[in-house]
């Protein structure tokens, strides 16, 4: 059984579990239907035009990408049986397997090129970051795709999965507007599952694709069940109306109860690192003073935030890039040693900076319960050092406008790394033009740090990257334009007899490996 020991205060070991079940004597049994919980109805089912979580959940099992990421993060072939990289690290040549779309049409390199150039490059935020560095995507023949970069880019392969570069059927999309194409609601992909039905607001059914180019799925069907109320999701699991609940949708407080349930199994660990942090608006008067920002770091007990706002599912901030990537972490800049919880020190720093009666507006997404809870803790703790905080929850759309328009003092956010700090974390610190959403909103701009991050992003060798990250860490840990709160800990709860979860890096991926053990 995948028993779980919940580590609350000790540093969490990065658990990169492999797919091999711990009890090798069980052989996978085909058949059955698994019910997976979704917290909201996806807008549509095309992962090529959206980075939203539920869209990816369904989309990645219906569509294929060139590669997929194994449990340890390494890319392995999906639609591509293999690839070669030129010596200068600029040219990647992919060989495609023989595969068909669910309507029988063969998948060719033309589909790959079309999807990337016409659909994903203009519409997909994450793929675009890769595309900006791509010089060309060509299809010399029906079974080969060649991607040529402008300069070396280590994370390229991570951005070629079905999450970011799904292979869409050109014959259904060509000539139409991908945003309104009806195939978005009834997808025809080449993945291990075929689209079945979609009852809006209720559930999405997918059926096994018996012509899958790799091993067909073990299950007959997967039903994605929509449960918007977070309370109801764990309940569904407990009463047997669902089989799998990802941490993304699980209220952290339910985890201990689910873990104690003898009919269920739970798991925690890090899959794709994500960081919870606070932008500090350096354009606000007094917040431009580094001593004030450092005072904020001392004044806030990040352990309490992890324990109460995140239900223990986090590792309190270990540095400017967290602890998710060993090469981006530096022991010298570990926030736990550099900025321990010390309200007196905070008060001293504030006095030194001559700050009294500071009032800060805390803007956050009103739909995120963890942010609201953290906000209450932060407000209480800052009050003890003489800073008054006003909580200003706002709907996502308003929050985005305000934060990225500079109309805030402190704000809480969470960014996923996307599999590589260069994909998801650099944007936190890199100089950014005001008004761009989901990048640096603190107004902090350090050309030297920008340069170091740029260098680190291009290298493939982790030691070489670490050298740059160490330098950046030092400066960022001193300047703290951003208060890193914690690394998110992924979690999962499942029916006791479900097997085969987390065979691939992303929890949503690899549902074809799920099966039910007989009781």
């Amino acid at each position: 059984m995948f028993w779980t020991r919940l580590k609350r205060s000790a540093p969490v070991a990065v658990a990169l579990l492999l797919a091999v079940p711990a009890f090798a004597q069980e052989t996978p049994v085909p058949g059955g239907t698994a019910i997976v919980v979704l917290g909201s109805d996806p807008e549509h089912l095309n992962p090529g035009i959206s980075t939203s979580y539920p869209v990816g959940a369904v989309g990645v099992n219906v569509y294929s990408g060139l590669v997929r990421l194994a449990a340890d993060g390494r890319p392995e072939g999906d639609l591509a049986s293999g690839w070669t990289v030129s010596d200068d690290n600029l040219t990647y040549t992919f060989t495609l397997r023989a595969a068909n779309f669910h309507d029988g049409t063969p998948v060719t390199s033309a589909d790959v090129v079309y999807s990337m150039l016409e659909v994903e490059a203009p519409n997909h935020g994450r793929f675009k970051t890769a595309f900006d560095r791509i010089a060309s995507i060509t299809a010399p023949d029906a079974g080969t795709v060649v991607i040529t970069l402008k300069e070396p880019y280590a994370p390229l392969l991570s951005l070629l999965t079905a999450f970011d570069a799904a292979v869409l059927p050109k014959h259904l999309f060509e000539g139409t507007d991908p945003l309104t194409n009806p195939a978005n609601d009834a997808p025809i992909g080449s993945g291990p599952f075929k689209f079945g039905t979609w009852v809006r607001g209720e559930r999405i059914e997918v059926v096994r694709n018996d012509d899958y180019y790799l091993e067909p799925a073990l299950l007959d069907r997967v039903i994605f069940r929509v449960v918007p109320q977070d309370v109801g999701r764990s309940t569904a699991l407990e009463v047997g109306e669902a089989d799998l609940l990802w941490g993304f949708y699980m209220p952290p407080v339910d985890l201990p109860r689910l873990a104690a349930d003898p009919n269920l199994q739970t798991w925690t660990g890090i899959t794709i690192p994500a960081l919870y942090f606070m932008f500090i608006n350096t354009n606000t008067p007094r917040l431009d003073d580094v001593r004030v920002r450092q005072a904020l770091m001392y004044a806030i007990d990040r352990e309490q935030i992890v324990e109460q706002a995140q239900g223990g599912l986090g590792q309190a901030g270990s540095g400017p890039f967290g602890a998710g990537f060993a090469y981006a972490y530096s022991a010298a800049t570990d926030y736990r040693t550099l900025y321990p919880y010390d309200p007196d020190k905070a008060k001293a720093l504030l006095a030194e900076a001559g700050v009294t009666g500071l009032k800060l507006r805390f803007v956050y997404d009103s739909a995120r319960g963890a942010f609201a809870a953290a906000g209450n803790i932060i407000r209480d703790q800052l009050r003890r050092v003489g800073i008054e905080v006003e909580l200003q929850p706002a709907e996502r759309a308003v929050m985005v406008e305000r934060v990225y328009g500079g109309d805030y003092d402190i704000t809480m956010q969470s960014f996923t790394s996307g599999g590589d700090p260069a994909i998801g974390y650099h944007r936190i610190y890199r100089s950014a033009a005001p008004g761009t959403p989901f990048v640096n909103a603190s107004g902090y701009s350090n050309a030297q740090v920008d340069e170091w991050l740029e260098e680190a992003g291009g290298l493939a060798d982790q030691d070489a990257r670490k050298a740059y990250y160490d330098r950046a860490d030092e400066v960022l840990a001193h300047d703290v334009p951003v208060m890193v709160l914690f690394d998110e800990l992924a979690s999962e709860a499942a029916a006791g007899n479900l097997r085969g979860m987390r065979t691939l890096l992303d929890q949503r991926d690899g549902l074809e490996y799920l099966w039910f053990a007989k009781p």
Binding site: D41, E43, H44, S50, G125, N184, E202, E241, E395, F438
Partner: protein, 329 residues
Amino acid sequence: MASEGNGGGLAIYALRRVINAVPLVLGVVVVNFVLIALAPGDPVTSLIGEYPAPPEYVERVRHDFGLDRSIPERLILYVANVARGDLGFSFANRQSVTTLLLQRLGRTLVLMLSTVVVATAVGLLLGVLSARRPGSLTDRGATGFALVGYAVPEFWLGQLLILVFAVWLGWLPAGGFRSVRVEYVGFAAALDSFRHMLLPMAALSFRYMAITTRLTRASLLEVMSAQYITAARGRGLSENAVLWRHALRAAALPVVTVIGYNFAFIVAGSALVETVFGWPGIGRLMYDSIYTRDYPVLLGILLFVSVTVILVNLITDALYAVLDPRVRY
């Protein structure tokens, strides 16, 4: 009891009321639209996921949904569309709003109608029981129940019901519309739906049970002392006959009107209860749409509910006019 020979009068009354309703509906549409068009926030942001989207993509989405036109333009377009029955296109759900509403409508109606039926039946019964013997234990109990039932917030009640019946006792499902795992058919399906509906219906109906009980009791007591009742008793009719045949008919009138005029509150209550129980109806659609800034859906729901309220008011007015001989039209 109904006025005879006034059929023509009733028709004219009804027509007058309907004509009155038209500017009301228009007013609702315009006000809704203005309100929401002026609200801060950009609905496009909710469509593009969590990662910086290319600006051309953002502009395309904006254009596709007509968000780049001026407000007066959009209003005129909207009014014209509504007249045709087209309530717009939902951003987040990628469906026409009308289709979306109609899909969810059935589930909300099932919940609301069964609530009204059960609440009315139980309320009438309790009201009668307490009016029969004013001051008795039954009376006091029913009145107390009515008082508390009217004060309890239905969403809190919903939570408590889940706690008691779904979690601690495990008798009923904690939410949802039907079992997902097993596809029931026929009678089993109906039973399954019924099981899922019990708790939300209970939570929703308490308030109306309470109102109905109180009102029935009050009306009955008032009527019971009226002249023609005394006369009926004098003619030797049994107490029960007096009660059921004469008094109840007179008392039914205020009850009907209360249910009719409180319809809007049933809608509100259902929004709260649907959210607590994850019941996929219009109430929950509303809740979800607020967070995704789905303007057309919100407008659609507001309009739909307002028109429904107007309709129900009309029907109640008509019923009232037919049933109450004192109303002159």
